[in-house]
């Protein structure tokens, strides 16, 4: 069939109408060389994006039976979607249309009308040349499963499970240990309010256990996972037995939490295991049990709480230590008002609106806050210098260290298994730190709680809810997903199997077919950036709608 291309120049009122000689453009097009086999139909219209313009254009497409369409108008950022809509309505595959930006790239920036007109003609020629090499592309709909796997049964994982489980969405909750609740289950109270504590966690555990749409797998870890958003196939393995569970899930939520770094690994903290030096988690355990006591069983009369242990070495502030140390100071004061509690801090980090109030309350309890510029620990003897003061030494019955939070021990292995990125500190890396904080580098895999970075209980729950929000939007029960159409593909015959493209793809969209010895693009995951194309040494890649031929035509025509 002979190609018949409609070429519509939008006057955009005076914006193109007065900056470009449209009659000259229209005269030039039919006389273009090299298009003897193509029927070129150039026309102009006042304002193509107006309701009248859209109606006109749709009718023109249908009446003339165009095989391709070029619209010379404004920036694609303004109205590409408008004209794609017109094409669809008129039954023309939108990938056989191209918008040419003769306003921002000609009329508005080339202030000599003749020159602007020449440039516009050149752009339109390029567009005509390119559009002839464009192909029809079709949106695909993929079936999905709405079910979700949560890895980690701490507060973040339980909250994610509870936020998602419903009659049409099953949640599988895999917990490595033999019980739910995580570290927070030991806490007597939760920040920022001192009122409620472990009862909140107990309520959550009960709610999870009673929820018929949540299946809890204790003593279980992830063994393998393949797939993509909406379609993951995972295998869970019992860590005490050989039991394997195969699951199909649409999304995976990582909620593996944190651990406290070892204070002994940081310079300046010298103490023996038998010294009365404890971590905040150990104090939580004592406080929730028999009460906080020295190894002798006696209650401590003086306690030093040291903030920021390992902050400098780790290179980050753990966000919640200032607050939980004040909470722990409160435990001591509650146990005995006579206990002398001294908090050594560098910077008081109180980023939540209610934190200052908590600090003021703690000051009111008679806790002695000392701002220091240096500190060292030897047994339970603290050597320090306050800001603006000299070195001093104080001895205490007991010392509590707020050691930096670090990723839990499974983090690296899990990241490797799921092929997602870690940040330079070893926490899971967000898809985008600001605009996409719960997603990871692989669509459909999310990270919540302190495995994404140091966080407290309430923030961890919020991240879990945010992830639930994302999954509810992306994976509706009974719904489908529509992947990007302008994706990469690999021409098998040309692929040498060098795997360069696997390394450069930021989305894990390319996998290697061991049997064929070639790379394969998973079109459901590809976002169409073309980075793999730029990396391929053998020319095996094609980027749909941005193919070599299409771009060559555009370039060559422009340079004629």
């Amino acid at each position: 069939m002979k190609a018949k291309i409609g070429i519509y120049v939008c006057e955009c009122g005076p914006n193109i109408g007065e900056t470009i000689d449209i009659p000259r453009v229209l005269e030039t097009i039919p006389a273009l060389e090299g298009y003897e086999d193509v029927e070129l139909v150039p026309k102009s219209f006042g304002l193509l994006c107006s309701p009248a313009g859209k109606e006109y254009l749709a009718k023109e497409i249908t009446d003339n039976g165009f095989t391709h369409l070029v619209v010379a108008a404004c920036s694609p950022r303004d109205h590409n979607s408008t004209f794609i809509g017109v094409c669809k309505e008129a039954g023309l595959n939108p990938y056989l249309y191209k918008i040419i930006n003769i306003r921002e790239h000609c009329g508005w920036i080339i202030h000599d009308k003749e020159a602007a007109t020449d440039k516009a003609i050149q752009y339109i020629r390029s567009g005509i040349s390119r559009v002839l090499y464009q192909s029809e592309l079709f949106e695909r709909q993929l079936e999905i499963t709405p079910d979700v796997l949560v890895i980690g049964g701490g507060i973040a994982g339980m909250e994610a499970a509870l936020s998602l489980a419903s009659h049409d969405r099953k949640v599988y909750l895999a917990e490595k240990t033999g019980e739910l609740g995580g570290k927070a289950a030991r806490f007597a109270s939760l920040l920022p309010r001192q009122g409620r504590g472990a009862d909140v966690i107990r309520e959550k555990i009960k709610a999870v256990e009673e929820n018929e749409h949540i299946r809890v797998h204790l003593n279980t870890e992830l063994e393998s996972s393949i797939g993509f958003l909406g379609n993951f196939e995972v295998v869970l393995a019992g860590n005490g037995d050989d039991e394997k569970t195969d699951l199909k899930v649409g999304a995976i939520i990582i909620a593996t939490g944190y651990r406290m770094s070892d204070p002994g690994s940081f310079t300046g903290y010298e103490y023996a295991d038998t010294d009365e030096v404890y971590s905040s988690l150990e104090i939580e355990r004592m406080n929730g049990g028999e009460g906080i006591a020295l190894r002798s069983g006696a209650k401590p009369a003086s306690v030093a709480l040291i903030h920021c242990v390992g902050r400098q070495e780790k290179g980050y502030c753990s966000r919640i230590c200032c607050n939980y140390m004040m909470k722990i100071a409160g435990y001591f004061k509650k146990q005995s008002g006579a206990t002398k509690v001294t908090e050594f801090f560098f910077d008081m980090c109180l980023p939540h609106k209610a934190d200052q109030e908590f600090f003021d309350h703690s000051v009111g309890l008679g806790i002695d806050f000392k701002r220091v510029k240096e500190i060292g620990l030897s047994g339970t003897s603290v050597e320090f210098a306050e800001t603006g003061g000299g070195k001093q030494k104080m001895d205490f019955d007991m010392v509590v260290l707020a050691s930096a939070m670090e990723p839990s021990e499974d983090t690296e292995a899990l990241a490797g298994l799921l092929e997602i990125d870690l940040d330079e500190r070893g926490f899971f890396k967000e898809a985008h730190q600001t605009t996409d904080p719960v997603a990871t580098s692989i669509d459909g895999i999310f990270v919540v709680g302190a495995s994404q970075g140091p966080r407290g209980v309430s923030d961890s729950m919020l991240l879990a809810q945010a992830t639930a929000g994302r999954i509810r939007c992306q994976l509706k029960p009974g719904g489908k997903i529509v992947p990007e159409v302008k994706v990469s593909e690999i021409m098998e015959a040309y692929c040498t199997g060098c795997r360069t493209c696997l390394e450069v793809c930021g989305y894990g969209a390319i996998y290697f077919d061991d049997q064929k010895g070639i790379s394969i693009v998973n079109e459901a995951v590809c976002r169409g950036c073309g980075n793999c194309f730029g990396s391929c040494p053998s020319g095996a890649l094609r980027t749909k709608h941005f193919t070599n031929k299409q771009l060559y035509r555009e370039v060559t025509e422009a340079l004629k």
Binding site: S75, P76, R77, D78, N101, R103, E104, H105, W108, I109, I110, H111, A115, A116, D118, K119, Q122, Y123, S126, S441, K486, V504, G506, R527, G528, C529, G530, N531, F533, G534, S535, C536, G539, T543, F546, N548, L551, Y552, E554, V555, T556, A558, L559
Partner: protein, 146 residues
């Protein structure tokens, strides 16, 4: 080409591959602010600067471009994460190839222009087209016999 056209001073042909997310938006901003920009430049929109491979660049030179500008997001700002870093790395290699072809490496420029930098976009394009004008015509124009 008519004699009259030949008499005119050399007007370079420059192809600009602009990333859809940052620099293309900057070009729009320059347009809507009505800044004057050299007509020497022809813009080709790509989704990411990392899509622009060596073949495309060399073909563009063989077809007669006197200069090529590849412009994308600032390092760290890439819409796709790290595409622009890859682009930068690849061009370092290509510049060596260009030398071998007798093509001045300055004819290929990689610039970072963000979406709010309409003025900078205009400056970058105008300065590049002055630079190419001073370099003169592309010595390998049409020489696909390489």
């Amino acid at each position: 080409m008519t004699e009259k056209q030949q008499e005119r001073e050399f007007t370079p042909k420059i192809v600009g591959f602009l990333c859809n997310w940052c620099t293309y938006a900057a070009a729009d901003l320059a347009g809507s602010t009505k800044l004057e920009i050299s007509p020497a430049l022809t813009v080709i929109r790509v989704m990411c600067s990392s899509r622009v491979d060596h073949n495309l660049l060399l073909t563009t030179f063989f077809e007669g471009a006197d200069g090529i500008l590849v412009a994308g997001c600032h390092p760290g700002d890439c819409h796709y994460g790290k595409g622009n870093y890859y682009a930068r790395r690849r061009y370092a290699v290509l510049k060596k190839v260009m030398e071998g072809l007798g093509l001045e490496p300055e004819r290929l420029q990689l610039s970072w222009v963000s979406a709010s930098e309409g003025n900078r976009y205009a400056d970058v394009v105008n300065a590049f087209s002055e630079k190419i004008k001073a370099l003169g015509p592309n010595p390998i124009n049409g020489r696909s016999d390489f």
